[in-house]
């Protein structure tokens, strides 16, 4: 289909889309007509659309200009009202037909209109006659009804403004669930009016007031996003015990944890805290607290966490051990299952449906309880097989610094789930990307989320066969541009962070140098506190270097691309003297001198290998490089040199000669 590349900028890819011939001008004569249902939500949706269109085009776009004689008309056909509280099964589909005569957006409710407007905004283009929409036929609906982001706001509190911006950006890529991880060992970051000591003693720097929560819920609702709160029990609860130590499974003088990683690695029972699930008082307390909290969050689902319960508290407390014996609980998971059955009652009493992490899954738990799988595709499939609604988070941990490609290749319906019969597959509602915030401050939140979250959003929305990786990366500039119009601040923030690293000296050289580097993957960082500054090179460079990725593509065909590869290597090498000098003078980058040394080594190996492409490599040279390449492939100062695999590939090319 000709001109199909005009759909390039639409992410997630629509279910079906066909470019037609023609253009619809977007100018001050634009008029929006509404047919069918009108309502507050639709009206605010249209206002926001107009404002965003005005921002992108730099124009003041009146919905109806008094004296305009020519109209570009967009007709919104909204079949019916929108649920007061958005449900998991809400219809988000829409149809969009644009011709040179006008556009028509048809949807069952305001949610579909919202999703359609995102597509319209991504289609806006400019030619020599002005802004316009290309003629197109689109029919679009999501593959999964649950497309979320779990945001940990305890390890670092995220101010309201950052939450709102994140909701704006999530809406851009048609995500529909924000799961807020509100409590953990490090913080109880939400106001409780029933138990004010919880936030007063338990918060990590700041907490959300009830007004803040209302603001978040309203902002999300206006964007077609559900807000699911998580109160993680019975583990991950040190901050709770700062207020109510008697609820702990083990007596102690608790404070919110200021270090990371103490649970479950730390063997001191006081620092692997878990609630005492045997006390009626614990259940009475949670009943009252959850009563308050379920009233704050209108969503049907209420997340009780339930993950990573360390048994030290329980097994060291004679009363708990006796309770287990009396009730025939052979091991701590059985005790947790009992506790979960109590939680089910409490949550149900308050009119909500419980959701928990993997560990909540147990044969006795009611089938309506939803399971969020962080451990893998197998546990997801098992939950679905047992008849539970299930969502996948394994493979979507954005804090682990993996590439967009790695996340894109993960699919809720692959692995064990692929072999389930359809009625069990239907239990898989979708997934949630997870952003644990040990190493994420509000300053770097955008960089750590985007564009990788957009990639996951496409995985959750688009057909399962949408999987062209190179095409995905080619669409990054346009999706980042769209997100930036709606508030994404990655680039300006990164500029200032680089200036912080150089102390105001020019940053170009350091930025070029840093193209070769990425933060080390997985759980590579150690020894941090909640108050540790996150202001070094590792915090400044993106999780994935697109320059390194492009370089890797060149190295796939080293002979054809020899000149380009050479230019890249020399460009990076040319930065080394300046960067060395800068690193010795500036405290925040000084720790990376060993990285620079390793990089210098592999750049030289790469340049030498290039020179040997003519077959002139001395005998044994290739094998001699292995130790140095292996060394450079290791994490150094929490960083990884992203071009090492490409250098290895270059060298191996000679081997195969």
């Amino acid at each position: 289909m000709k001109d199909q590349h005009r759909l390039h900028s639409v992410l997630p890819r629509p279910t079906t889309a066909t470019i037609q011939t023609g253009r619809l001008p977007i100018d001050q004569s634009l008029r929006i007509d509404i047919e069918g249902d009108t309502g507050d939500l639709l009206s605010s949706t249209i206002d926001r659309f107009i404002n965003r269109l005005a921002k992108r085009t730099g124009s003041i776009i009146p919905v109806q200009l008094p004296n305009a004689t020519v109209f570009s008309q967009i007709t919104i056909e909204c079949a019916g009202p929108t649920e007061r509280v958005q449900s998991v099964n809400a219809d988000e589909g829409y149809a969009l037909i644009i011709t040179s005569k006008g556009a028509r957006l048809t949807a069952a409710n305001a949610l579909g209109v919202m999703r359609g407007f995102e597509t319209v905004l991504q289609l806006v283009d400019i030619d020599d006659a002005g802004f316009y929409l290309p003629a197109v036929d689109i029919d679009d609906r999501p593959r999964f009804p649950w497309r979320g982001l779990m945001l940990d706001v305890t390890r670092h509190y995220m101010p309201l403004i950052d939450i709102k911006r994140t909701l704006d950006l999530m809406a851009c890529v048609k995500l529909n669930v924000l799961h807020l991880h509100l409590t953990d060992d490090q913080g109880f970051n939400i106001e409780s009016r029933k138990f004010p000591k919880l936030h007063e003693r338990g918060h990590n720097g700041a907490y959300y007031t009830h007004d803040d929560i209302h603001a978040i819920v309203d902002h999300a609702r206006d964007r077609g996003i559900r807000v699911v709160p998580e109160f993680d029990v019975p583990g991950h609860t040190a901050a709770w015990f700062a207020a109510f130590p008697h609820l702990a499974g083990y007596p102690g003088d608790y404070t919110p944890d200021r270090w990371y990683g103490s649970n479950p690695r730390n063997k001191d029972p006081q620092y692997c805290p878990a609630m005492d699930p045997t006390l009626e008082e614990t259940c009475a307390f949670l009943d009252e607290l959850f009563g308050e909290m379920t009233a704050l969050f209108p969503d049907q689902y209420f997340h009780i966490g339930g993950d990573e319960v360390t048994p030290h508290h329980w097994l060291n407390n004679p009363a708990i051990v006796e309770f287990m014996n009396t009730h025939g609980f052979a091991h701590p998971p059985a005790l947790q299952a009992y506790f979960n059955s109590r939680l089910v009652e409490i949550v149900r009493k308050h009119g909500k449906t419980m959701i928990g992490w993997d560990e909540v899954l147990h044969p006795d738990i009611p089938k309506d309880i939803a399971i969020q799988s962080w451990r893998g595709a197998d546990s997801l499939a098992e939950a679905a097989r047992q008849g539970h609604p299930a969502i996948l988070s394994n493979g979507y941990y954005l804090d682990l610094m993996y590439s967009a490609e790695a996340h894109y290749s993960q699919d809720p319906l692959t692995g064990a789930a692929a072999n389930l019969p359809p009625h069990q597959q239907a239990n898989i509602l979708g997934g949630e990307a997870c952003m644990w915030s040990e190493y994420v401050t509000p300053e770097i939140l955008d960089d750590r989320l985007w564009p990788r979250l957009a990639v996951i959003a496409e995985r959750f929305w688009s057909n399962g066969d949408v999987s062209d990786i190179d095409n995905l990366y080619a669409r990054f500039p346009s999706i980042l541009r769209h997100l930036t119009w709606d508030g994404l601040k990655t680039e300006p923030t990164r500029s200032m962070m680089f200036e912080r690293l150089t102390g105001g000296s020019p940053t170009d050289t350091l930025r070029t140098f840093a193209e070769c580097l990425e933060p080390a993957k997985g759980y590579a960082r150690r020894g941090y506190m909640t108050t540790s500054p996150l202001n070094r090179l590792i915090d400044t460079v993106p999780p994935e270097s697109l320059a390194a990725r492009n370089f890797a593509r060149l190295c796939d065909a080293p002979r054809e691309n020899a000149a380009a590869i050479d230019a890249h290597l020399r460009r990076w090498k040319s930065t080394l003297p300046d960067v060395t000098e800068l690193m010795t003078r500036r405290a925040l980058i000084k720790p990376y001198l060993p990285v620079l040394d390793q990089l210098a080594t592999v750049l030289d190996i790469g340049l030498t290998a290039l020179a040997y492409l003519d077959g002139s490599a001395p005998d044994g040279w290739v094998d001699e490089q292995t130790p140095a390449i292996d060394e450079a492939a290791k994490d150094i100062a929490e960083m990884t040199i992203a071009i090492v695999p490409s250098i290895r590939q270059l060298v191996d090319t000679l081997h195969s000669d």
Copy 2:
């Protein structure tokens, strides 16, 4: 003095400052002690300082870390309380002594502490050991007590968030007055609860509610900034008459003006509106309205405008003419003087001191009335000579697109004012930069204000002999960095605006090309409405091209800099093919093809002139270039080619051979 360049980043320059030997570390052990007065204002000042320091360093800086054993201590010695309503004569001086043992900031009140904190933040540096403050002795106080910005929020309404950001940035450079031009022909942009029709019918897209005004006043107060409101009467009042046509000097069916420039150029009386100053009802109305508005703004001064009253209404209205005859008013200015005497009574009745533009100056007006001079240094001096408090705005009109250098060279105490005796000079309180907003949307506000407003701020604060132009420009990067940490968004906005121009194509080439261009100076734009899009190249490039300025410096010594000049010319020339192609394809830059043609011509002339530096120019060649250079020196498509004077200089070099 060695290391005096470390003061480079401090703007405005302190009264006296001496760098000493030593460094005070800035880290998580920082502690702030307060001596003398404490109070709400001081406490919020310190909180904001800590937050800003944390942002710049990327650290969480607790005021007091529980287990810290080593302290970097900053002692704040605040001698006394701060006035509840900041007066013109408030003491803003401070002393700052930093040694390797600690820092001491001494001031008479919280305002001085605020000013001192700005200096501290600008001094923060980083070396191989971390962030620190250099040892320094500073004694600093402003030259003028009134250092302001007049912001026109009627031609384009500026949302609260933009006003707040502007206040933040003004505080960075120690400005202390925000003068809000709230009403004009195009809009009555403030809520009146006494006369709601005023804002309902008179607003230009939006208006400030009372809550908004409280928020602005509070935000300003926290930053040591006075807010002076202006209600411009009796001219510039078309928007008022949309609500109350009977107050107009001439009957008509009024609406807020949607075009610019109708007053005073348009001769149709209905569009040069002025209030009927002869009606008692006019005065009664203003009495009631000003009663409401003076209660909203705590500042002592209340601005009644008074500028550019066009006499058409009055002279075409027989009743007004008869009133003039009866009272012996020979001409309209005499009638306005009568009206002003009534305004003086009204403003005084509500406990305020009146301020007005030049035209208010009249022998009969009380001496406490302040005069804001927009017409020139002569009228400023005349006001001061007559005993009026006077402030200068002439020469500080940021909307006219003049260079930082042009504004910097303007001084309230030069010209006629220089010859006044000291007791009359003392009447000159300072000045206000003016930003009329016909061609300023919220999107480009930051670019249109900064860094030129910082330059004017230094003129108002620092000693009159601080006048090194090249040094001023050399300090731009550091001052822009400081402003960016506090919210300045010029660069990210410009990036997105360039992407809008190219429709998502790469912007580098267009940006390089645009280095040669500036918006035409003065009142060069015609035919715009309040709803006209401001989204073209003229709106995207900065008022002053620093690249063009640097090029001009090179051309001051063409032989020495021949290679560098050649490189610049070739770099710009290399953009022409791509930019030509882009301009033919994109509507927002298509109008600039004639500019490109002229630029191509002068680039070639420049390159040829360079080649002739060896004396090889043919006879007459130099003179033959004059017509082409003259042509290129004209405004084209509202733009000016900023490198033309340099090209002329290059060619003239050959002439003088």
